[in-house]
Symmetry: C2
Subunit: 161 residues, 2 copies
DNA sequence: GTATACCCTATCGACTCGCTAGGGTTTATT
DNA sequence: AATAAACCCTAGCGAGTCGATAGGGTATAC
């Protein structure tokens, strides 16, 4: 499966909304600026997410977007499927299963593709927006600890520039 | 990562050549007919495989193609990379590793993509053409056993048509 | 009633994909 | 030699996708 820029943007926007989940409504403009996404392009993506009931919106002067469910209940796999289609590297799971049964000459090949899709699905469906936000926080925290403890023997980031 | 028809055709052709490995040279025509691949289209694919030193060819009247190495030494992952590019769902492994380091706001996301690509690579790089051929033989054998033992209580294929 | 936001449609240029066409070059056979 | 069969190479085509932009329409707060 291939993740397009549109798919990446969608995930970035959702992560942004997840981090602002307590804050409530967030404007397109804010997301676009923070994530460096073309504003009008992002608009279209948010409409898709809205129609799929992943986010909700309010119009008018104080409008904006918010997640429709808590970040822990939004699976990355579902978002990827919504924007970029099936997780399988070829066709979709149903087609692969059928071809394993009906094309004995290449059953092994399609079974292999199915293995790849199942591995990807296992990872992406067991990861939520909350997981990603927490993973980011850990990275940030680790980086902060590193910066606060500059030992001569240790290899440093080139942050002195 | 997405596998195109071109990629599927390449793998089908290589499986065909693997099954005929002892036999020696195989003509494009034979592969195209057996695998239902447009002949001229397959030609172009075989040239790619030849330039990548996966197969070799002989020209002239009794010409054809053959695998350049035994089937056990040709990894599916390498073929997919050759025809359809990196195994990562976004960018390639090097880019993802770099963005994990340099974009702390989305380190978790790119790390996740890297997990998916590593899972796919683990599967595809540990499977050879020989593995696929054997897997096919097993499927065929299982099917033959099933057909020879038609028990009333068992659910049958609809092969009586 | 005006500014600010979300909503919708159309379109663009670049690119890829699956495929076809039309030759050129090499070799075995007659 | 002449011929036929096979591999080799380049060009192009129609359809589709992709990332992005344009230009409005509609709802809401002040």
């Amino acid at each position: 499966m291939r993740i397009s820029h549109r798919g990446l943007y969608a995930l970035q926007a959702l992560i942004h909304l997840a981090e602002a989940y307590e804050r409530g409504l967030v404007k397109i403009r804010e997301i676009a600026d923070a994530e460096s996404i073309p504003e009008k392009f992002l608009e279209g993506i948010l409409v898709i997410l809205k129609n799929a009931r992943v986010v909700s919106s309010e119009r008018g002067r104080e409008g904006g977007y918010r997640l429709r469910r808590p970040p822990a209940e939004i699976r990355i796999g579902d978002v990827v499927r919504l924007i970029d289609g099936p997780l399988a590297p070829f066709g979709d799971a149903a087609e692969l299963e059928q071809r394993v049964r009906t094309e004995p000459r290449h059953a092994g090949l399609f079974a292999l593709f199915l293995d790849v899709r199942n591995a990807a699905a296992a990872i992406l469906d067991h990861t939520s927006l909350l997981d990603l936000v927490e993973r980011n926080r850990q990275v940030l925290a680790a980086r902060a600890r590193k910066a606060a403890r500059p030992q001569p023997g240790e290899r440093r980031e080139r942050a002195r520039a």
